[in-house]
């Protein structure tokens, strides 16, 4: 039996008089990998930021692990459960800290013991040896940085990982490596993923179900294999699919 890991009900995010998120609802099951796709400005990142508490939502409700949250306030327990990986691996690491300090920070906040072993294990898990431990972020490549960002998220042993376009800043070959790494981590740790991307290929590869968003609303929610079978009802989904197949010379 599956249970709900994360539930969003009628979430409303308004900037000035613009509704960035217009009463969005969705449920993500435990250990599910859930994708959110849509064009730029469709509200997919806003949704992720509102869930993580980086921006506030004005109305609606958010339930994580059967606990309710609203506005921007999240407690430490929430951040133990939910971790986020950001789009830009160049901006998401503190420029003046070594990898060691970067990974120590979340451990210190949540009062973990045995930090040395945990940091070593985390680096190992993302495929970087201990040789990277005392490097600064500017000494790492984009893919290596994103691995560090993933290690930082995983090190507090969260149950849910929010992924905001985790590979869109990386080139194609690195993309595949990072996606495989994430997939491996999900299997090993029984994680729940909520992944935002404008790349339908990435989403259909990684996710079991996906929501298609447009203008701050969810157009439809469908299983990933429905994309291949072209079993969708919304016209917009078809447009998005055609667009993602790229330009074809006929």
């Amino acid at each position: 039996m599956t249970t709900t890991a994360l539930s969003v009900r009628d979430m409303l995010v308004v900037y000035e008089d613009f509704a960035a998120l217009n009463r969005v609802s969705l449920d993500v099951q435990h250990q599910e990998s859930f994708g959110i796709v849509g064009e730029s400005g469709s509200g997919k990142s806003t949704l992720l930021r509102a869930i993580s508490g980086l921006s506030a939502f004005q109305e609606g409700s958010l339930t994580v692990d059967s606990r309710n949250f609203n506005g921007r306030k999240r407690d430490r327990e929430f951040y133990r459960t939910v971790q986020m990986v950001f789009q830009d691996p160049y901006g998401s690491l503190h420029p003046r800290q070594t990898v060691d300090r970067l990974l120590l920070e979340p451990l210190a906040i949540h009062g973990f013991d045995n930090v040395d072993a945990r940091i070593a294990r985390a680096l190992d898990e993302v495929g970087l040896g201990s040789g990277f431990r005392f490097r600064y972020s500017h000494q790492l490549s984009g893919g290596q940085r994103q691995r560090i960002a993933i290690a930082r998220a995983l090190i507090v042993e969260p149950k849910i990982l929010l992924l905001d376009e985790p590979t869109s800043a990386l080139d194609a070959s690195i993309q595949a490596e990072i996606l495989n790494l994430l997939e491996q981590a999900r299997r090993d740790r029984s994680l729940t993923f909520v992944m935002v991307s404008h790349d339908l290929g990435v989403i259909s590869h990684m996710c079991e179900r996906l929501a298609v968003m447009k203008s701050g609303e969810i157009v439809e929610i469908l299983p990933a294999d429905a994309l291949e079978k072209r079993q969708f009802s919304a016209d917009y989904t078809r447009q998005l699919l055609v667009a993602s197949e790229g330009f074809r010379r006929d």
Binding site: G53, L54, R74, H94, P95, R96, E105, I109
Partner: protein, 272 residues
């Protein structure tokens, strides 16, 4: 040394000038050629090299010694004022960058009000209440330094707060205070250091202005500003009395400006 000078001439000249001035100011605490306040009325208005290195003023006091003691008075007031202004201003800027909302409105409008009142004017008002002197000068100058640093810090900190690594820290459950100390402050420290240096030059200029108007240190303590004011009467007979303190002020202000510019170029090449 020569290579460094060629690579960063602005920085090196600024550093050299300010180091020299600071050294002279510190030296004056222990040694000056003559006691700077000693009056020798028979030796009055002697030109440079005839009596002492830089001549004497209308009371026969040694100008070189007065300039040295003046350097200490000027620099110590400037340093204290900028230290207070930078600390208070930076703290305000950091707090506002976390809270924002109505507090940001309030603080920024307060800054506008302080900017609108010239520091000389606020020093006169302050002097009327608590009397002219070192403390008045420091507080008056610090008061107009605070909004400079508050604005700079706020603008820089807000930029840092939008960075993904700060979002990551929020996502770890870090408190705003910890994020400010660990993530924001180290990444804006460069800008603050540069501003401190530039403000030191301005503070010296303001202090000279205050003591020129008689709002600085009380006589007989020598200050560059009052030397300039006193020299006006004798400009026809003894022009060096006006030129020398004027040059000292110009040298100090230029030195700190160059040092600030040089530091900025070195620490943040993008902001040129």
């Amino acid at each position: 040394m020569i290579r460094a000078l060629r690579r960063r001439p602005v920085l090196m000249i600024g550093a050299f000038t300010t180091t020299l001035l600071t050294a002279v100011a510190l030296l004056s605490l222990f040694w000056t050629p003559f006691p700077p306040t000693k009056i020798q009325i028979l030796q009055r208005l002697k030109p440079p090299l005839e009596q002492g290195l830089l001549g004497t003023d209308q009371f026969g006091r040694d100008v070189a010694s007065m300039l040295m003691a003046g350097a200490w008075n000027s620099l110590s007031i400037a340093f204290a004022a900028v230290l207070i202004g930078a600390t208070v201003g930076t703290a305000i800027g950091l707090v506002v960058s976390v809270r924002r909302g109505w507090l940001e409105m309030l603080v920024m409008r307060a800054c506008d009000v302080i900017f609108a009142v010239p520091p000389i004017l606020s020093a006169m008002v302050l002097g009327a209440f608590i009397g002219a002197g070192r403390f008045t000068a420091i507080i008056a100058i610090a008061t107009f330094m605070v909004p400079v640093f508050a604005r700079l810090t706020l603008a820089a900190a807000l930029q840092i707060w939008t960075r993904a690594y700060v979002h990551a820290a929020i996502g770890m459950g870090r408190s705003p205070l910890k994020i400010t100390v660990v993530h924001v402050l180290p990444n804006i420290a460069n800008q603050i250091v540069v501003q401190v240096t530039i403000q030191l030059g301005l503070a010296i200029l303001t202090e000279a202005g205050l003591s020129y108007l008689g709002l600085g240190l009380a006589p007989p303590a020598p200050t560059w500003g009052r030397m300039l004011a006193d020299a006006q009467t004798f400009f026809g007979q003894a022009p060096w009395l006006a030129l020398l303190p004027g040059m000292a002020i110009a040298l100090a202000v230029t030195g700190f400006s160059l040092l600030g510019d040089g530091l900025r170029d070195m620490l943040d090449p993008r902001s040129r």
